[in-house]
Amino acid sequence: MVRSAIASATLALALGVGLPAAQAQEKVVTIGAHMPLTGSLARSGQTFNEGMQVALRMCNAASPKVQVKVDVIDDESTPAKAVSAVEKLASSGSVAIIGGYGSNIVGPASDASDKLGKVYITAGAVSDELTQRGLKTFFRINNNAGYQKGIATLLIDLKPQAVSIIASTKEAPTLLAQGLEKDLAAKGIKVTVHKFDPAITDFKPIINKIKLQDKPDIIMMSAYENDYVGIIRAAKVLKPQVKLMVGTWSLATPKMYTEFPDLMNNVVGTSFLPFPVEVKSEEGRKFAAAYQDMYKKEIEYLATLSFVETTLLCEAIQRAAEAGTLDKGGLADEMRKTDRDTMLGRVQFDQTGDNPNFALSMGQHREGKIVLVSPKAAATGDIAYPAVPW
């Protein structure tokens, strides 16, 4: 009994050793990823995951010599579990980690990753503090400044007298609201910020305050998906005399329009791509096609973010693997050499790992289409202004 077990184990070992030898020219590299697949941020995590999978498929097809595969772990939006995930991924051979969503998760997870000497890249954490820690292996493609710049550019171009910001007390929306308040006030625009607890469901009292007291030209929503629906619904009921509703993440997406056609028309949010997709670049077209093929839906903003970060990481891995520095800690250096046009525009990484070029386009829902309206260079159409969903 024991002997046969040993025999079969030996056999398996021999075969296992034999296999890679047979396919010597194909090197398989594993990376890890931790995402919130459950909890309130689960939808973001799922979309991240989809973009990532498409990126790997395309990257592997483009460079068959080095195949990159990914292990994904649910971090349940808790820091300790994200740290555990990083450690588990590192111990099971991942050469790099793709990070999750939220600075509170990414902070500790990237710390752990740094201690283990693994490259960590994220597209879901915008806090400035993250890049002030002096980590050598930390990279991110987007940051608060970029969002702020994208939205501020649009708002300042429209020359409103007054803007009301409705901001969730969650981390990223708060940071964005603070930054925008400063930018807009510097241009002489009157800004009022209304912070709200994410547990809120009825936004009529806030909207009514804005309608009767602030009387702004534009309402800016620094919040998440379910908040947008509540806010726009309340605005639709109370009909404040505003000229535009603007939001941020996950707002200017085809999905929002399909689900809430009555609420979304003329609303503006951050976006990279118009819809239907008219991507100028070859890469963008391929991405859209592959995404449609794998998930039977239109690409979304978060999927694009994770597509870009994964593509950059994957290419750096392939470069390092071919140069033979992958096992010698050369990946971080390869990452730092990144300089490439992506669907987010040009991406480079500075000494802190941040992408200084990051800035956002703004897209407007228009009868089921999304038109890029700002900045001028990226625009695919003129903004409808004044225009509201009601």
């Binding site: 459950t38 820091p79 902070g107 500790p108 607890d197």
Partner: protein, 330 residues
């Protein structure tokens, strides 16, 4: 307390239990557990400590709390702020944070008059209020953006607590220490009175036990322990924000662990928290990657239905069936 009294309270058996706990606890180190495993174990031990603090209040005070996140969160913030803003050494900041959590528990004294679910949910309300206050007091706590630049665990005499093995030993030591404190109180005259209160409040009022005072002490002690584990966790994780520090997880997981292990015994909450957390993270998560808490719910419901005294009760029953009767009341 005289020497004889303390030796009676800390009997050979409880010291043996503590020793056993340390030995069992050190096994993963001896076995060369990966940082990943150690990380999971550290998280589970933090829940174990929190579970002890919860069971102390539940078992001795007869008060079920649904809001231990309140103390945990106050402890985390207090320690991080003391270390970052006042430069207090981390190992000193941790017990001080326990003290701050104790102070915060004084705000809950009016709740001691309440019974059953009313007390449970009043504490939950406190946890929510503290969370909102931490979000609003951004001048102190950094608000929603959180705190991330505060010192981690230090290196003492060349022993690095910040590194996984070191943190593990520190957290394990804290859990054993708290378990011993719990044992001492349980065995003391006070503990006997307290358990009598938990059984029937009216009866002991007649006997002349000042139950409100004793309950107050238990609430404060429970808050102290919970606050210390919150502080430990903060320094290990290195990031704090209100939603995390006061998360419902810190209220719920210790209850699940304590009920699973058996909240009436000392060892139950520790054992339960470790087993249930490892089960959830290692087994359940690999079976159902998304929504694995459903297994946690099923295990918990099954436990309450089939073995209401938890694992400890179950083990006790098996022991008593095989003859070792005195184990049944462990």
């Amino acid at each position: 307390m005289s020497d004889t009294a303390s030796s009676r309270l800390l009997s050979g058996r409880s010291l043996a239990m503590a020793g056993g706990l340390v030995v069992v606890g050190l096994l993963p180190l001896a076995a060369g557990a990966s940082p990943y495993m150690l990380g999971l174990l550290i998280s589970s031990l933090i829940l174990a400590g929190l579970g002890l603090s919860w069971a102390l209040l539940g078992n001795l005070g007869g008060m079920v709390s649904f809001g231990h996140a309140a103390f945990f969160g106050v402890g985390s913030y207090a320690s991080a702020l003391l270390a970052a803003k006042l430069g207090v050494p981390v190992l000193l900041a941790i017990p001080l944070a326990g003290g701050v959590a104790t102070l915060s528990s004084l705000a809950m004294l009016p709740a001691l008059r309440l019974s059953g679910p009313y007390f449970a949910l009043a504490i939950l309300a406190y946890a929510q209020i503290f969370r909102i206050l931490a979000t609003e007091a951004s001048w102190l706590t950094g608000g929603a953006a959180g705190l991330q630049r505060f010192p981690g665990l230090p290196t003492v005499f060349g022993f690095n607590f910040a590194e996984r093995h070191g943190s593990y030993v520190l957290v394990l030591g804290m859990v054993v220490l708290c378990a011993l404190i719990y044992v001492v109180i349980r065995r003391s005259y006070v503990g006997i009175a307290l358990r009598a209160i938990a059984e029937s409040e009216d009866a002991t009022r007649v006997v002349g036990v000042n139950s409100t005072l004793l309950k107050t002490w238990m609430l404060m002690l429970s808050a102290f322990i919970a606050g210390m584990f919150g502080a430990l966790n903060a320094h290990i994780i290195g990031f704090l924000e209100p939603d995390y520090a006061f998360s419902g997880i810190w209220s719920v997981m210790p209850i699940i662990g304590a009920v699973f292990g058996g909240y009436r015994s000392v060892i139950g909450p520790v054992f339960g928290a470790v087993v249930i957390y490892m089960f959830d993270q290692v087994i359940a998560k690999s079976l159902i990657p998304v929504g694995h808490q459903i297994l946690l719910g099923i295990v918990l419901a099954g436990m309450v239905l089939l073995a209401p005294n938890g694992l400890a009760g179950l083990v006790g029953r098996i022991f008593s069936r095989t003859g070792g009767k005195h184990h049944a009341r462990a």
